[in-house]
């Protein structure tokens, strides 16, 4: 089972490359929220679907470094498997 938000995040990361959390929120068209996106990302990281690292801040930049997220091989396989599964199920339930 791949929940909708996790599938969306995986799709965005696979299609558009590594992103910050805020970029994911912006690109999701309102499906992901600022206040909860990192909870979902943390859960996906613990499942092994994505990995993250701290971004190297620009010289002279102030504030905390942001985390950049990218899909793992497991995450990409999971996304492909889920897409195949949903396609097969959709074909099965067609009238």
């Amino acid at each position: 089972m791949l929940p909708g938000k996790e599938r969306l995040i995986l799709e965005l990361l696979v299609s558009e490359g590594p992103m910050f959390g805020l970029q994911l929120v912006d690109r999701s068209g309102g499906a992901l929220k600022r206040g909860t996106v990192y909870v979902t990302l943390g859960r996906m990281e613990s499942k092994g679907f994505i990995e993250s690292e701290q971004d190297t801040p620009d010289p002279g930049a102030i504030g905390l470094p942001r985390r950049i997220y990218r899909p793992t091989a497991l995450g990409e396989r999971m996304l492909r498997a889920w897409a195949t599964f949903t396609r097969e199920v959709a074909w099965e339930v067609k009238p």
Partner: protein, 207 residues
């Protein structure tokens, strides 16, 4: 001072280190980077700050319900929405004061929950496991000391406050119980039985 500095200070009071690293710090990093990107435009900076703080406090509210397991995290937003609806209904039906007390109590409960998530304590195991747990006072193991007395008096007071119409009944019951206790104590003393509880436990002391 950078925005989010004091948020980082209060976060360890509620969250564990892993949660702060994975969730809280990125949220605050977003706030800081957006404020920095807003430049000198005060309106834009204010808007960005509002968005960032809203994200942080949403996180504070949702985090106690959320976990890394999917089924619980999925209900987090539902719980948050439900809480707001219940609060509004309470304000409308029972008044602002009751709603305020309810919200305060909920926040304290969330704080306690978060605290015990961070500092799990060992579950107390009664030394005599022969008792089957039941939801009534008769199965509650109360020490025969001042602590037990406070428990009993406190319980009676709470019930009296909740149901003032049965106060006289409780008072009469308490007085009758004292007479029964006195009679039992006298009978056991006369019979010279050290085991007052008839259960192989040591005699209970009043103080």
């Amino acid at each position: 001072m950078m925005p989010g500095t004091w948020l980082l200070k209060i976060a360890p009071l509620v969250f564990n280190e892993r949660f702060i690293e994975i969730v809280v710090r990125p949220t605050i990093a977003d706030l800081q980077s957006e404020v920095a990107a807003a430049g000198s435009n005060r309106t834009k900076r204010f808007r960005v700050r509002c968005r960032g703080y809203a994200a942080f406090w949403t996180l504070m509210f949702v985090a106690p319900f959320a976990s890394w397991s999917e089924e619980r995290a999925n209900v987090a937003s539902g719980l948050a929405t439900g809480s707001v609806v219940v609060t509004l209904l309470t304000v409308v039906t029972l008044g602002r004061w009751t709603a305020l007390v309810a919200v305060g109590a909920t926040l304290v409960a969330l704080l306690l929950h978060s605290w015990y998530e961070r500092h799990p304590s060992e579950i107390a195991v009664p030394p005599d496991a022969w008792r089957s747990p039941q939801i009534n006072f008769s199965s509650t193991d109360i020490a025969g000391n001042i602590g037990g007395l406070i428990f009993v008096v406190g319980s009676v007071l709470i019930v009296s406050l909740a149901l003032p119409s049965i106060f006289l009944f409780l008072l009469a019951g308490g007085i009758a119980a004292c007479f029964v206790a006195w009679g039992l104590a006298a009978w056991h003393t006369r019979a010279q039985r050290a085991d007052w509880t008839c259960a192989g436990r040591p005699p209970r002391l009043l103080l």
